[in-house]
Each structure stands twice: as C-alpha cells, then as structure tokens.
Amino acid sequence: MTDLHKAYGPVEAVRGLSFEVGRGEVFGLLGPNGAGKTTTVEILEGYRQRSAGDVRVLGHDPETRDRDLQQRVGIVLQNCGFYPRVTVQEAVEHFAKAYDTPRDADETIALVGLGEKSDARTKDLSGGQRRRLDLALALVGDPELVFLDEPTTGFDPAARRTAWGVVKTLKELGKTVLLTTHYLEEAHELADRVAIVKDGRIVAEGPPDQLGPGSSGYRVSYISAGSRVEHQTDDPTELLHRLTRDAIARGERLEGLEVTRPTLEEVYLQLTTEADSG
C-alpha cells in the first residue's frame, strides 16, 4: 500500500499512509481513536474507496470487490451484529456456504473457544463470546489474510488473553494478520511489526522492541543537585564516556545513573503527543 489518502469531504482521515505486510506476518496498526486506522483497514477490506494512492491486497485492488479476493480474506469488523434467532453453530455453518473451501464449522467454533456455546442463540452470548463468534465467522472460509479491527476492545483481561491465543494460533497456521488496536500491550504481544498512526500518518514503524524515534533511541539519566537530568541519544557510548569523564574530572559521582531504551508505551505517548502540538 503506497501513499494512501482518504478524505471525507474536507476532512482528510488518511494522509499519505504507506506500508507493506509480508506473508505470514502479524502487522499491527496502533494509534489513538480517530487516527485513521479503521478507515485504512476498511479501504483494504473493500468497504471504502480511497481518494488517492495505490493499494494491493493479495495482488488485487480491493476496490473492485473481486470475489476471488473475498474468498481468501477474513474480516473482523468493529460492532457488527449477527442474524437474530440463530445458534452459534447455525451462523457459522451458514457463513461457511459462501466459501469454496471452508473450514469445518465445529472445528472453527472449537478454535475460537466457543465449543460449549455452539447451541446457544447469538443474542444470549456475552460480549467476549460475541467477539469470538466474530472471529469464527471470519475464519470459517479458511482465509490467507485476516483483518482484525480492534478485536479485544471491551474485553476483560482473561478474555483478552484467550483472544490473543487465537491470534497466535493464526500465526502458527501461517496466516497473515493485519490488526488494529489502541492497546500498546496488545500490539507488543501479538505484532511482528507495528506502525504507529496519528492523524492519518505513520509516525513510526518497526518491530515493537526496536521502535523508537530516530533522535531519542536511548535515554541516559542521573541525579545532579537533587534533580534528575535526562539526555536522549542514539549513541549512548559516546555520551556516557563524555558524562563520566567530566564527572570524574570534577571529582563527582553520577548518582542514580541509568541507561534505558524507551518502551513502546513511551514511544507511543511521545509520538502521539508530539503530533498533537504540531
């Protein structure tokens, strides 16, 4: 996907987004609400037409809504209802019919951990169970590529762990996953690579452990005259050498000296607040 733009009237929701997701990779789009994540994913899913840019999904332009592409893609949307008055089993079996090579319905239900609920009506499911049924309906076509738009929003911690387990299973099955989330922990836990999105642009991209804005890869701090002094650097060796040399020359010690890499959370907060002031 290159230089994607999407405008709603005068409002530009996506302003020049580019990224590529490799086969078998779990890619996370991370960002605050309103950053343009859902708009981006819905363009990739074929729900919306882009204003500009080039988009390819499994070699297809999603805008053409090619049936061959839809056979190979599974979609978990935000806030999507079910047919009323059907059971979990019936819903999964019915959706399976649209696919040329579906997974077995029972196996799919078991995969998402709804085995005990397969005879329950969809309206009787809890929030977490409904989300798992969302996942089952997206997986019943045995897709190569799965879109997960905020798959665990509103989950309790236990349900979130279960859902993460399912996503990890998808990865083990060799599926490609594009995930949006505003939970840092989730991106960190699941994604091979993360792009942080803010105001319709990617502000950082990379594996979650290595994400950091270029100018502040490391943080070196110490206490001087009772307060903490902080330096940010890409080259901590040089900086530490200089700081310690000067301190020794003055006959002082650097109290509480620390060298840290920023966590994903710090990078995220820093990037998203920077963009706010800009």
Binding site: Q70, V73, I75, L77, C80, P84, V86
Partner: protein
Amino acid sequence: MSAVALAWQQFRFERKLFWRNPSAAFFNFLLPLLLLVLIATAFASDGSELDVLIPGVAGMGVLATTFTALAYNLTLLRDEGVLKRIRGTPMPAGAYLAGFIGSATLNAILQVTLVVAIGNLLYGVDWPQNPATLVGFTLLGVICFASLGVAFSHIIPNEEAAPAYTNAVFLPVIFISGVFYSSDDLPTALRGVAEALPLKHLIDGLSEGIVGGGSDIGTAAVVVAAWAAAALFLAVRFFRWE
C-alpha cells in the same frame, strides 16, 4: 457454490429465521387473516361486501409481507451491521438479496392463497374466476411492493424508527385503498390520492382475478408496473449496506 445455489441456501435460511420470529409471523400472517374473519363475520352480510373484502385483504397481505416486512427487516439488518458483515464475505449481493426477497415473496403468495381459501371455505366465495389474472397481479404486486420496501428502508434512519415509518405508510394507505370497503365511496380528494398510489390498483387487479366482472384492468396494470419500475430503480440506486 454457484450464485443460484447460494441464493437458494439464503432463501432456506430466511425461511427458518421467519418462523422463529413469532411476532413477525403474527403480524405478517395471522393479523390480516384475523381481520378478514372478524370483518367478514361482523359486517359482510352479503356477497357484494365479501367481493370487496377478499381482494382488499389479499392486497393488504401483499403490502404487509413485502413492503412493510422488507423495509423493517432491512433497516434492522443494516443497523445491526449484519448487511456489512455479509458484504465482507464472498456471498454475491444478488444471491443474498434474491434469497432474502424470495422469502418475502413466498409469504405474499401464501397470504393471497390463504385469503382466497378462507373466502371460499368459510364464506362460500367462488374460487378465482380468472386465475391467470390473479397470479399475474400477485407477482406484479410483489415486485412493486418489495422494491418499494427496499427503497423505503433507505430513508428510515434507524431500527427504533422503523415501526413508526412503516406504519405511517401502511395504515393510511390501506385505509384509502379500498381494503375494507370500496374506495369508490371515498371523498374525491382522498380518492385522487388512492388513484395515484399502487395499492388500490393492485386490489382492482386482484379483484378481477378473484371475483371477475370483466372490468378493464389495463390501467391498473400500468400504474402498478410504473410504480414497480420507479421503486426498483430507487431500491438499487440508493442501496446502502451500512
């Protein structure tokens, strides 16, 4: 699976959903029949009143099972996100809608059949005089009111508003279109409105099919067909999946 096979699967699924919804089954099926029996028993002392009532209730049945049911159900499915979910699968849009609308069509045909059967078995009305006319107008009516139902769902803002919107059309239209009494008895202004709308003409056509009498039904067919064409255009042109 081919698109035709998928449409058939969807149709069977919709039949299952329909019978699992007792209140919809009641309003679509039993209420018109109940009204028919009550009014026929209470007021229709002679054949001429039954000759108005039977085609009238058959027309109302077509309106309820297609226009009202489709406008209401589509709004609900759209509001709940079910349509959007279906849109994200390889189910062809045409196959889905064919199955969905096909189910409503079967309800309309069942309804007309039941009304005619009750008229004959309970009240001694003759079996349809012109079966071909009856079948033709039933199908034309289904196309017209199913399209109007789909088109009307586009302007219903949400699920909560759906009953109010559909009833705001359904009740006045059955009142002026000669369901329970001949629309010829209405004041001129109201008759003019009824003449412009399709239900009165559908009932005229059904009446010729059931009761006979040799009246000209050419105008009726043209008016219903014109509404059908306009409604079909609007239904397709402004269809929204979400």
